[in-house]
């Protein structure tokens, strides 16, 4: 029973919609960091965000809707 609940919660978390939103947010933050004029620190770390977000987006876009 407990494992079924855990499984249900896990699969709820791994749905396409919310995960795509998380990936999109990471890409969005990365792109902003890449092109912002405020600090070099943000620019220097931007590619980590963009790459992580893009790879995540590629993976989660193959998840099922439900």
């Amino acid at each position: 029973m407990k494992t079924e609940n855990k499984k249900g919660r896990f699969s709820k978390l791994l749905r396409k919609g919310p995960m795509e939103n998380v990936a999109s947010a990471i890409i969005g933050i990365g792109v902003f960091m890449f092109m912002q004029p405020f600090t070099l620190f943000l620019y220097s770390h931007s590619f980590k965000f963009i790459l992580t977000g893009t790879l995540m987006f590629l993976v989660v876009s193959h998840f099922s809707e439900e």
Binding site: V31, M35, S44, I50
Partner: protein, 301 residues
Amino acid sequence: MLSKINRKLLNMSDRSIAWLFTLPTIILLIFINIYPLIWSVYLSFTNFKANRRGMEIKWVGTKWYEKILMSEDVWANMQVTAHFLFWTIFIQAILGLSLAIFLNRKFKGHELMTTVVVLPMMLSPAVVGVFWSYIYQPQAGIFNYIINFFIDFGEFTMIGDFVLAPWSIVIVDTWIWTPFVMLMCLAGLKSIPDYLYEAAEVDRASKWQQFIHITLPSVMPFLMLAVLFRGIENFKMFDMVNELTGGGPGSVTELASIHLKRAAFEKWRTGYSSAFAVILFVTVFGAGSIYVKFLNKLKEK
């Protein structure tokens, strides 16, 4: 022999025939798209220089990526690109939509007007860059003459001034590509059925309400698609800006693609430029993916 092949073809399943027809294209795409991409990713981790073919290729790890992402010059190039990208898209979206609404009305000579408006889009960006450099000439250029006709600024130079040069490339790109955005919006406007406006008029909706609740939602997917195309295209804009300003004065108009070209074909730093190209590719790909996702959501609505 021929009949043998014919018999073999006749015995093939639909799936196999589909593969037979698409396979040459897939192979071609792998060779002209996928292979160079993978090759440049590999080169971005090496010290390879395209002008020294005999040189031993050494693995340098993420050295070029670190160098690019710690460089204040590349950061400045990205800001120049961001300025160019934001203003061209913003101005083109507003002007394109306005022009489309204007040309969607039937008036005398509206077809000629559409043709004239679309003309700049048909010219090569490199050619446009060259002739706009004449238009921007401080002494003989017509641009300064027109500006001074309305407001007396005296003698000024668009492409030689640190403040005005970034705007000069925005103006030229807007001149070339606003017609494209207009055409896309015009397609959206033409797809709106008349009965929607008739129903709105029966409900006594004002022209402004009709625009907000009928015109804008119907045109939005088309406009967003145009913005996507322009965004991707302007992110890698090279030819027009290279001909018009060459990245100058200083480096105030040095877009990312101009920096990339200089590193690759003037300094021959192939590994470094491959790394920069990979960074730009991943950025465009990521930003494009989320944009398409929002575009699809908008279409569903």
